[in-house]
């Protein structure tokens, strides 16, 4: 299950954010920016404090209920993927996200680099990608990681499903930041 995707530009600004699960409580747009900026800072610090020279920054941040995966491109753009701890083949998904980004953002003449991403085709293809890796909460009836969600219609199974995906965004933000600071 994939909860959210964020893209942070090389200056630490949030250029794209999208949630793919319904149960998440929303942050204000300002809080999203703060989250992105803070992660950018933490990422820079972690790469500096490493005893091994030339280390990459933080790659994964783990809690009981979710993981934040980070992938930094050669040009300094960071992709953050908030996912279920059991979500398989994150590396592959990350690569596909990068591919989608380079196809529909970098090659789009109307998309300025380092600016907020407004590209319809990017949205469409990213959604398709998240669906294809079983990332959507809406289509989780065939997701083996959600136990007790056999019938999407019944109220009981729905509550079971929602209790098994507890991370709400404030959770993610506070624990993520807490660990960083």
């Amino acid at each position: 299950m994939i909860f959210s995707i964020y893209i942070i530009n090389k200056a630490g600004g949030l250029v794209y954010n999208k949630d793919y699960s319904e149960g998440l409580s929303k942050l204000t747009s300002n809080e999203y920016l703060v989250l992105a900026g803070t992660f950018h800072g933490v990422h820079a610090i972690t790469s500096k404090i490493s005893p091994v020279p030339g280390s990459s920054g933080i790659e994964m941040l783990e809690t009981d209920t979710f993981r934040i995966h980070c992938f930094q491109t050669l040009t300094g753009t960071k992709f953050l993927l908030v996912a279920d701890p059991q979500q398989p083949s994150i590396d592959h998904t990350m690569k596909k996200i990068y591919e989608t980004y380079s196809d529909y953002c970098v090659k789009n003449p109307f998309q300025n680099p380092e600016m907020p991403i407004r590209s319809e085709q990017f949205d469409v293809h990213l959604l398709k990608l998240v669906k294809s890796v079983g990332g959507l909460a809406l289509s989780n009836s065939n997701n083996p990681y959600i136990i007790g969600n056999t019938g999407a219609g019944s109220l009981q199974s729905q509550s079971a499903a929602s209790s098994s995906l507890p991370p709400t965004l404030p959770n993610i933000a506070s624990s993520g930041l807490g660990l960083g600071v």
Binding site: Y104, K107, P109, F110, Q111, S119, E120, Q121, F122
Partner: protein, 223 residues
């Protein structure tokens, strides 16, 4: 006679290449000191050999994106931008026609409109975009209008047009190519591109070809 001439000109190119120092990997075929030749220089390559000489879609997409950004800075308004794109396409088309006619050994000169359009629909599209166009239709409203449609045009594959310039169709570039080929074959016409999305193909582009009156008059005589 002509083969002799071309052979000697080929030789002179090769001897020039041999006498010039190679410039930073630009010419990979310059004979090295070991006398080996890795690949053939694009200038020495035979024009009729097309296998393995295709250009990557990504390389094209980057180039086209830069062309659009360059043009966008130098125009006022969308109409102007489309006109410029059309001009750029025209320059491509006039050269492509030359190459196509050279490659197609049994080609005859098309004298009828339908044959000409079919040539564009198949041969031109195949050479330029690696597939045939998806449809060739005659307008039901106007006698002088024909339409060639491409369900998934390579030109706008990676492009999302923002809302404020939503009337823009990057297919204007393709329209320019078609216009050049029509012009070059003595079928002067006005060619424009329009987005006509259908179910499953949101990028579907129709190239509208409006023939000049003289073409229709000639067509009438040939009947």
């Amino acid at each position: 006679m002509s083969t002799n001439a071309s052979a000697s000109s080929r030789l002179s190119v090769m001897s020039m290449a041999a006498s010039l120092p190679s410039v930073g990997g630009y010419s990979s075929s310059t004979p090295s000191i070991y006398g080996k030749r890795a690949t053939t220089n694009i200038l020495e390559r035979h024009l009729n050999k097309t296998r393995g000489t295709e250009v990557s879609v990504n390389a094209f997409a980057f180039l086209f994106s830069e062309m659009l950004q360059y043009t966008q800075k130098r125009v006022n308004g969308i109409q102007d931008l489309e006109r410029k794109l059309n001009e750029l396409g025209y320059r491509v088309g006039i050269r492509a026609l030359d190459l196509l006619v050279w490659r197609d050994k049994n080609s005859k000169r098309e004298t009828r409109v339908l044959g000409m359009l079919y040539f564009i629909h198949t041969a031109v599209w195949k050479t330029m975009f690696g597939k045939q166009a998806d449809s060739l239709e005659k307008s039901t409203e106007n006698e002088d209008e024909y339409m060639i449609s491409d369900n998934d045009p390579i030109v706008s594959k990676f492009i999302s047009v923002p809302k404020d310039v939503s009337q823009l169709n990057c297919g204007a570039f393709m329209a320019g190519i078609v216009e050049a080929i029509m012009d070059g074959c003595q079928f002067p016409s006005r060619v424009t591109a329009h987005t006509v999305p259908i179910e499953g193909y949101p990028l579907r582009t129709t190239i509208l070809i409006k023939l000049d009156k003289e073409v229709l008059d000639r067509e009438e005589q040939l009947k």
